[in-house]
């Protein structure tokens, strides 16, 4: 690297568009990113909000038409997407690898179970009202992430990836041995979320929308969708803020960022904590959707699935993470449902749906990193450009 020039180029490296020049050797003219777009076409600034609104309307209308299977699929995909956004922020925006995502998902899930279940002679529980329990469980996951910050702040990149492996294995050990908390091998019931007499994920009291009764499956879809939308909006706001720029600065050049006054260790642990909060939200949602959780589920493979979601989505894009999550979490369910249609892929054969799904997304991770490291996000961007849209100048 060349010498740092603190006076001119480096400061303007943080250009107003939120992108960060990759190094001090790249001269960047303030405002160039804006001019480079050559002026948006009239109406272009409305294109994104209108598209988002359209997608929202479609997503809210789907439960009126789709059956139980698809609604379940969607709810689980939305829950996974919340977790994937958290990991995306850490990996794609800060450049820190974490394989401990399943641990923080488990903290959220079991935190909720512990807080919301009444105690009995063989199980622990606080018997809190379920809504505060859910919120506190997310806070617990965040605190767990914060507790890891002595390492999350100091270790970088892949080193953190291996170190975070420890949390998965320690977590698995605790889940299997702390039977009063987790119920051991047999798992434990998850208390349903209620607000007063209203069952958020149940059927009581009866509700209907345009004549379609909103029962369990529909309510699951809506709850997960609303949480996902809030999580997405929050992520976008954070990433556009000062914090998000500090993240990007660290990712693109740690030394450079430190020279600019970004507290590298501090922001690394902030990112780690933020990602564990997202994992906590996803964990609570997943527990509520499963209604019964077993320790086996929260293993290393689950962490790798979340990593696959983020990589397939393109590592640095919120929308990409959501798309990757929808893909990875739906794949086994779809394969399960349609396995009879493919000869030799029935659940009893060697090539069962679980096998095919793992091979597929493992291969996809390799292929995407090989051919298109920016993943689905970049594919979508190209498609939009090919269709004449002007998506090229949107800040990442």
């Amino acid at each position: 690297m060349s010498d740092l020039n603190l006076s001119g180029t480096t400061v303007s490296g943080l250009s107003p568009s939120g992108t960060v020049a990759s190094g001090p050797s790249v001269p960047s003219v303030p405002g160039s990113a804006v001019k480079g777009g050559a002026g948006p076409a009239p109406g272009a600034r409305w294109r994104r909000p209108v598209a988002a609104l359209g997608a929202g309307v479609i997503l809210f209308a789907i439960p009126l038409y789709a059956d139980r299977f698809w609604l379940n699929l969607g709810a689980f995909a939305f829950a996974a997407a919340v977790g994937a956004i958290g990991l995306m922020i850490l990996l794609g925006r800060v450049g820190q690898l974490s394989l401990a995502h399943s641990f923080f998902l488990a903290v959220g899930a079991y935190g909720y179970i512990w807080l919301a279940s009444p105690a009995s002679e063989s199980t622990w529980g606080l018997g809190l009202p379920t809504l505060p329990a859910a919120v506190i469980a997310v806070v617990l996951a965040g605190l767990a992430g914060l507790a890891f910050s002595p390492l999350a702040g100091r270790l970088k990149g892949i080193y953190l990836g291996v170190a975070s492996l420890a949390l998965v294995f320690i977590g698995q050990h605790v889940l299997f041995t702390a039977e009063p908390l987790t119920g051991g091998y047999n798992g434990r019931e998850v208390p349903p979320l209620t607000v007063g007499a209203f069952q958020v994920l149940g059927s009581e009291p009866g509700l209907s929308l345009f004549g379609v009764p909103l029962r369990q499956a529909e309510r699951m879809w809506y709850t997960a969708l609303i949480v996902l939308i809030l999580a997405t909006v929050f992520a976008v706001l954070v990433l556009r803020s000062r914090v998000g720029r500090a993240f990007a600065a660290i990712r693109d050049g740690e030394v450079h960022a430190a020279a600019l006054g970004v507290r590298v260790a501090h922001y690394r642990s902030v990112a780690f904590t933020l990602s564990s909060v997202y994992a906590g939200i996803a964990g609570v949602l997943l527990a509520l959707l499963f209604q019964r959780v077993v320790p086996e589920y929260w293993d290393l493979m689950l962490s790798l699935e979340y990593l696959a979601m983020v990589v397939i989505g393109g590592q640095a894009s919120v929308a990409g993470a959501v798309a990757g999550a929808v893909f990875v979490s739906s794949l086994p369910l779809l394969l399960q449902r349609y396995s009879d249609l493919v000869p030799g892929m029935s659940a009893t054969s060697d090539f069962g749906p679980a096998y095919v799904a793992q091979i597929l997304y493992g291969t996809l991770v390799v292929a995407i990193l090989f051919y298109e490291p920016k993943g689905l996000a970049e594919v979508a961007r190209r498609a939009r450009r090919a269709l004449g849209g002007r998506a090229a100048s949107t800040p990442r």
């Binding site: 690297m1 010498d3 740092l4 450049g95 690898l97 002595p150 390492l151 100091r154 270790l155 990149g157 892949i158 080193y159 990836g161 291996v162 170190a163 492996l165 420890a166 294995f169 320690i170 698995q172 050990h173 605790v174 299997f176 041995t177 702390a178 740690e254 030394v255 020279a259 790798l304 990593l307 696959a308 990589v311 060697d350 090539f351 096998y355 793992q358 091979i359 997304y361 493992g362 291969t363 996809l364 991770v365 390799v366 990193l369 090989f370 490291p373």
Partner: protein, 299 residues
């Protein structure tokens, strides 16, 4: 006292095996700055080739072993040449490491499918024999693991420090750009490192599935994965560290299992988590591992 001694021998021998796997990870890291998460899956695959050649196709042990080493080393070189070399120009080491995770998923899933519920044996010459050694009974396979493990580690160190290629490899680890300018072919160094890692993985896998463990089944992968904490404990860029890390992981695992009664408050089966706890403790004290070098930051 005898009990502790037998624990130490056992831990040392299994530790030497972990050291071999960890050494593979360190060698790859030194030559290309990529953490090879696929190393456990190379171990699984190579050991599967040995075990299936022996027990399904009836090949004699040494032939099966040579076949396993050849296949795995070739696959590792292929992975480096085709997949990892692509990242060398851009120096995207995190992406390359994540790619090895994808590879790991694929290789392990396929190997697990092939193994299914079988328990395959490699037909190693040590069998189930137990020797008396200074008043304790030790499985001969464990002694062989210790002896051959130490032998391989010494040979490797000699090779790294005495041979031309070893010098080239160390130069690459020190400063790839300068090494390249001195006429060292980085691609060749990296491919060799991967090949060595693959071969080491098979040798280690052989002992991981030898007596007293019942044989190769799908649970071996979790055991092989402990080479990662071993490599991190020692320091990713230190071959001596890999050996120390392997021994520490082996000892921690065996001691925790051996004194399970005294450690009952930690819960049953804590030996599976012990290497990882050790890793966290070491990292808190020394973020680059016991023997790792702190990365010098140049501006």
């Amino acid at each position: 006292m005898t009990y502790l001694f037998s624990m130490l021998v056992e831990g040392g021998s299994i530790g030497a095996v972990y050291a071999l796997v960890a050494l593979g990870i360190v060698v790859v890291y030194k030559s290309s700055s990529v953490v090879n998460f696929a190393q456990p899956s190379l171990l699984m695959l190579g050991t599967y080739v040995v075990a299936s050649a022996h027990s399904l196709h009836g090949l004699p042990f040494w032939l099966a072993l040579s076949l396993g080493v050849a296949v795995t080393a070739a696959l590792a070189v292929l992975i480096d040449r085709v997949l990892i070399s692509r990242f060398r120009k851009t120096n995207a080491v995190v992406a390359a490491s994540i790619m090895t995770i994808g590879l790991d998923i694929v290789l392990v899933t396929e190997t697990d499918r092939r193994i299914g519920s079988q328990i395959l044996t490699t037909g190693d010459p040590w069998g189930n024999d137990v020797t008396r050694f200074l008043g304790i009974g030790v499985a001969e396979a464990r002694i062989a693991a210790l002896v051959i493990g130490v032998l391989l580690l010494v040979l490797f160190q000699l090779w790294l420090h005495r041979s031309d290629f070893g010098v080239a490899m160390r130069a690459t680890a020190e400063d790839p750009e300068t090494a390249s300018l001195m006429g060292i072919r980085l691609g060749r160094v990296s491919a060799t490192a991967w090949g060595i890692a693959g071969a080491l993985a098979v040798c280690a896998g052989l002992f991981l599935v030898a007596y007293p463990s019942p044989g190769l089944d799908t649970s071996v992968e979790a055991v092989a994965l402990r080479a990662l904490p071993a490599a991190i404990i020692g320091g990713l860029d230190s071959t001596a560290g890999a050996i120390a890390g392997g021994l520490l992981v082996g000892l921690s695992e065996v001691l925790v299992r051996g004194y399970a009664e005294q450690l009952a408050f930690l819960g049953r089966g804590f030996e599976d988590a012990a290497p990882y706890v050790l890793m966290l403790v070491v990292l808190l004290a020394r973020p680059s591992g016991l023997f790792g070098h702190r990365e010098a930051v140049r501006v």
